[in-house]
């Protein structure tokens, strides 16, 4: 920007403003007298609950995990025993049918069909 350099030479680059006498010297003192005091932040006192909280959370997590495992395995166990009962009953029915079939002779069967 050659033209701008020319402008800088002609117009200069010093801001054409002034301030009241001793303005900056007095400013700091004036400014500091206006600033509010910082409220002292009370130091946090660790209560028993605050200190025990991590341990309690950990214990609660273990309890939940233990309960979940116990509940899931119990359901699995109950499911297996119910299935076993069903199988046994089916097998019992098969045995009964087989023994019944063995007691029916050919004559009885013809008699039954002719009725």
């Amino acid at each position: 920007m050659q033209e701008l350099d020319e402008i800088k030479k002609i117009y200069g680059n010093k801001p054409p403003f002034k301030v009241p006498d001793n303005y900056f010297e007095q400013f700091t003192q004036n400014m500091m007298s206006q600033l509010p005091d910082k409220e002292a932040r009370p130091e946090k006192v660790a209560t028993l609950w605050m200190r025990m909280r991590p341990l309690i959370y950990l214990a609660a997590m273990f309890a939940i995990a233990l309960f979940s495992v116990n509940w899931l395995t119990r359901e699995h166990r109950e499911g297996s025993s119910a299935k076993a009962n069903i199988t046994l009953t089916e097998r019992d029915q098969d045995v009964q049918s087989a023994s019944l079939a063995m007691t029916v002779d050919e004559y009885a069967l013809c008699e039954y069909l002719s009725e």
């Binding site: 701008l4 200069g12 054409p16 403003f17 400013f27 400014m31 600033l35």
Partner: protein, 182 residues
């Protein structure tokens, strides 16, 4: 300067030395911030108000200054935001509707008893005041303060490329305006 700033930051983090350290901050940066604000809001009285608001805001939020950016950058950022907020408020509360901000600021410039320039400088200031707000900020930082683009980028949070483009447009408008006036 860097070491001085580090030392102040360290003292600002302790409640016992915070107030003393902040008075050092005010002493160290008030003049630089003042001139930055003055170039934006023009009048001395308004600049004084904005500068005070800048330090009050910095004081109220000093706990949140983590030292990620330089203290001076953080303060400049607050000062620029405060200046923009101030100008927007002035526009909203004007008794006579202000059609354009530049006319309002030129009026302020001409009536300011603390203006210390000659005819040429008044003409240059008028040309600068005709620029859009963002271009005016960038132009002032480059032309008067001779800040590097990287420094401006940190303060304004704008990319160096965008700043270069902004300064280029601003400079062209200034040159055009002054050529027409001549």
């Amino acid at each position: 300067m860097e070491n001085k700033e580090q030392e102040i930051i360290r003292k600002l983090q302790s409640p016992q030395t915070m107030r003393q350290a902040f008075s050092e901050v005010v002493a160290l940066y008030s003049e630089k911030l003042y001139w930055q604000i003055r170039k934006m809001v023009i009048s001395h009285d308004d600049s004084n108000d904005v500068l005070q608001n800048t330090f009050i805001k910095a004081w109220n939020n000093i706990e949140y200054f983590r030292g990620d950016a330089k203290l001076s950058t953080w303060l400049f950022r607050i000062a620029i935001n405060e200046s923009i907020t101030f100008l927007n408020k002035q526009n909203q509360h004007a008794t006579v509707p202000i059609d354009d901000e530049d006319a309002y600021l030129i009026n302020k410039l001409e009536s300011d008893t603390w203006f210390d320039g000659d005819e040429l400088q008044l003409k240059l200031q008028k040309a600068i005041l005709r620029l859009p707000e963002k271009q005016r900020i960038v132009f002032n930082m480059r032309y008067f303060d001779e800040l590097k683009y990287e420094e401006i980028s940190e303060i304004l949070g704008t990319s160096v490329g965008a700043l270069k483009a902004s300064y280029h447009h601003a400079a062209k408008k200034i040159v055009d305006f002054l050529s027409i006036e001549d």
